[in-house]
């Protein structure tokens, strides 16, 4: 497990160890003048953020972009004087997208690396495996996962999701659009584990509330590599296909769906997770023309691009198609990775609000974040204005519905924050710290 403690710019984690020595030297030299700025702080020791990264395993494609986004945000935070006058240092550990290793990584953050917080976990089964340990170790654990497990009350007071909305909120916001514009009878295709089950349960409820109906639910094992056999189970009466897939086989999934239907496809609504980090121009994806996607944040620059989106893209080095400017074939996880950026700014705001000095103030940090409510659209929150619910530890924000036109995703609708509201299922603030 490579551990690096640099604050240099984005680069491939795989190559990181190879050029580690060089990078450490370069970063050390580059950051030298900055130390002068921190001299006035009570302690000039850096704040340490433990980044639980999916560097290997099925989450690796996301992990690489979570890493790039994290490094870009931290570079800006450090350039602007750090947090409470102290520099911020990233301690990266690979969890292999594996729940058991996830818990070990959390433990290393708390005991070995003496990190101030744990941060950055995406895949829901890893969050489920790691969060209990974070709670036992009383380590504030900021996840960027989309799963409903935070707001459902399944976790603990030390686990927060302030940077990205959860699946329940996303599907609640999507259901009216699907019902009104695409059709009434829906077949759902989703991965057969916690994240997919969130989609299955909450979308079924949401579409029924809109007068629609789910006619079939196709659960696909996460390691599956061939999909045509599942498509055969789609009922003929289906008007809309609702798909959400993750993992390395997503492109096969979408391609085979196109081959299965040929010219007579129903309406198709997907979560961009099915094609995150995949170029829409890839061979075999032409049939997606005219289909719809949920996007957490629009991958392609839209005509009404905000200055904040421009700032965010420039900081990470992303072009107008959502790919790395230096290598346009390297497509980002644009609909999710903003969550890393925004979470880091929430950690910064929380630490500033409670005058965070060190691990003894961890409980105060959790309380400071719980006290947050409105987060206006800004450079700190480029995806959109958000509302944080301190009782459920979950943030709420806008969602985007895009249509594939000429091989690009074009935003059709932006749903308001309120469209994703649902009644609280837990009040974490009643738990002891």
């Amino acid at each position: 497990m490579p551990v690096t403690k640099t604050d240099a710019g984005p680069r491939s984690p795989a190559r990181r160890s190879a050029i580690k020595t060089l990078a450490a030297a370069a970063a050390g030299t580059a950051s030298l003048p900055l130390w002068a700025r921190y001299a006035g702080a009570q302690s000039a020791a850096p704040i340490r953020i433990g980044f639980q990264m999916h560097a290997t395993g099925i989450g690796a494609a996301y992990g690489r972009w979570y890493d790039r986004t994290t490094r870009a945000a931290l570079r800006l935070i450090n350039e602007a004087g750090g947090i409470n006058g102290r520099p911020v240092e990233l301690v990266t550990e690979d969890d292999g997208t594996d729940p058991k290793r996830g818990a070990e990584v959390v433990e290393k953050f708390a005991s070995l690396h003496r990190c101030d917080v744990g941060y950055g976990t995406l895949f829901s089964h890893v969050v489920m495996g790691s969060a209990p340990r974070a709670g036992e170790l009383k380590l504030p654990y900021f996840v960027v996962s989309e799963g409903h497990h935070v707001a459902s009350g399944a976790l603990n007071r030390w686990t927060l999701q302030p940077g990205i909305t959860d699946v329940k909120s996303q599907v609640l916001a999507m259901a009216p659009f699907v019902r009104e514009n695409l059709g009434r009878k829906v077949t759902m295709i989703f991965p057969d584990y916690a994240f997919g089950h969130d989609h299955r349960d909450f979308f079924s409820q949401a579409i029924e509330a809109q007068g629609g109906e789910v006619v079939a639910k196709l659960a696909i094992p996460p390691t599956e590599t061939s999909f045509t056999k599942y498509f055969a189970k789609i009922p003929r009466e289906t008007e809309v296909i609702y798909h959400v897939m993750v993992g390395p086989s997503v492109l096969t999934f979408v391609k085979e769906m196109g081959e299965f239907f040929g010219p007579s496809r129903p309406e198709i609504f997907g979560f961009i997770d099915s094609l995150e980090s995949v170029d829409l121009q890839s061979p075999g994806l032409d049939f997606l023309e005219g289909t719809y996607f949920w996007e957490g944040m629009p991958r392609y620059v839209q005509p009404d691009q905000t200055e904040f989106d421009r700032h965010y893209r420039a900081a990470i080095g992303i072009d107008e198609n959502g790919a790395l400017a230096a290598d346009p074939s390297d497509v980002s996880a644009y609909a999710h990775m903003f969550g890393c950026w925004e979470t880091l700014y929430v950690i910064k705001a929380g630490m500033e609000a409670c005058g965070y000095r060190g691990p003894d103030d961890r409980a105060a940090l959790v309380e400071a974040v719980e006290a947050m409510t409105e987060m206006p659209l800004s450079n700190d929150h480029p995806q959109g204005a958000k509302l944080f619910n301190g009782r459920t530890h979950q943030v709420f924000g806008p969602q985007y519905i895009s249509k594939v036109e000429n091989g690009r995703l074009v935003v059709q609708a932006e749903t308001p924050i309120e469209a994703g509201f649902y009644p609280d299922e837990v009040d974490y603030t009643t738990q002891s710290l």
């Binding site: 099925i58 494609a61 086989s249 081959e259 040929g262 061979p283």
Partner: protein, 307 residues
């Protein structure tokens, strides 16, 4: 979907799986048969074939030319790498069964992590040279007698048909190589009795290196064939290895015919069972079959009892 067309679709999908599996497992079986080496890194040569196919075809700008070049080059490169591994690693440990297993496990991780470091964690596509969707008809007996209908979704692509054809051709070629040529004779002689073969002047070490390379090349070829359907990904070797082992154990280690039969059995049953029941049940049945074979016929369906 109606039962008939549904079954036909399942069989077609299963046949594609079976074709790729047969190619891959025959390489594993060959290596074990001749060298008595359990090559745990076999799945990584499959991955390497897919990754090299992406590298070659994208270097040549994709299209049919790129794919044909990949089809020729990737197995050769993977084979050459395997020959090098044989000469530098397996030969040094004296082809001792336990030590070769550990050595090939090491090779597995080296290849997998090298792919992650150079190629990266994404699944990358390779465009098939041709890929027409062929809608398939189904016979339905209506009031006016039998007639052809075109059920929703019942289709296959021309590329998938090509994969089946190519796998069959390569396996036929492999069979001819083993039974009809001098090279095959030398291999079979080495398989029967290494020391006697050496006494008769057969360069056993060169045969071993060649067989290890050929086995890896077959896996890489399977990887190239599958990549327009399934994309290249650095972790794709794991499942492929497991299925190959299942096939080889059921078919009989070292038996080419048994390997092909077992690949068809596993591929088709995987297709059919996972369509009509669940993919988990298909895996359970395959594993159960392995257990039954090991208990009641340890030499495999077509294998010969140990001498």
């Amino acid at each position: 979907m109606e039962f008939g067309p549904h079954l036909m679709l399942a069989v077609l999908e299963g046949a594609v799986t079976a074709a790729v599996l047969a190619l891959m497992a025959s390489g594993l079986s060959l290596v074990f048969g001749v060298m008595r080496v359990v090559n745990v890194a076999h799945g990584q040569f499959f991955m390497l074939g897919a990754v090299l196919a992406w590298a070659v075809s994208s270097a040549l700008g994709g299209g049919a030319v790129g794919f044909v070049a990949a089809l020729l080059l990737a197995p050769v490169i993977a084979g050459a790498l395997a020959v090098a591994a044989d000469l530098t690693v397996l030969k040094r440990v004296g082809y001792d069964p336990e030590r070769t297993i550990v050595a090939t496990i090491g090779l597995l991780y080296i290849l997998q992590q090298a792919a992650l470091m150079t190629y990266g964690p994404e699944a990358r596509p390779v465009a098939p040279p041709f890929n027409d969707r062929l809608a398939l008809p189904w016979i339905e007996f209506g009031p006016e007698g039998p007639g052809l209908i075109w059920p929703w979704g019942l289709s296959i692509t021309s590329y998938k048909l090509f994969v089946m054809g190519a796998a069959a051709a390569v396996l036929a070629g492999l069979w001819a190589l083993m039974t009809r040529t001098g090279i095959g004779l030398v291999m079979r002689a080495t398989q029967l009795d290494r020391e006697t073969a050496q006494a008769f002047g057969i360069p056993v070490e060169r045969v071993y290196a060649g067989v290890f390379g050929l086995g890896a090349a077959l896996a890489a070829l399977a990887g190239v064939l599958i990549v327009p359907i399934q994309q290249a990904h650095y972790l794709m070797g794991g499942d492929a290895l497991l299925l190959s082992f299942i096939v080889v154990i059921i078919g009989g280690l070292g038996s080419l015919g048994g390997t092909v039969i077992a690949a068809l059995l596993i591929g088709l049953s995987d297709g059919i069972v996972s369509v009509f029941f669940s993919p988990t049940l298909a895996k359970i049945l395959a594993t159960l079959l392995v257990a039954l074979v090991l208990v009641f016929r340890p030499e495999g369906l077509m294998g010969k009892a140990a001498r």
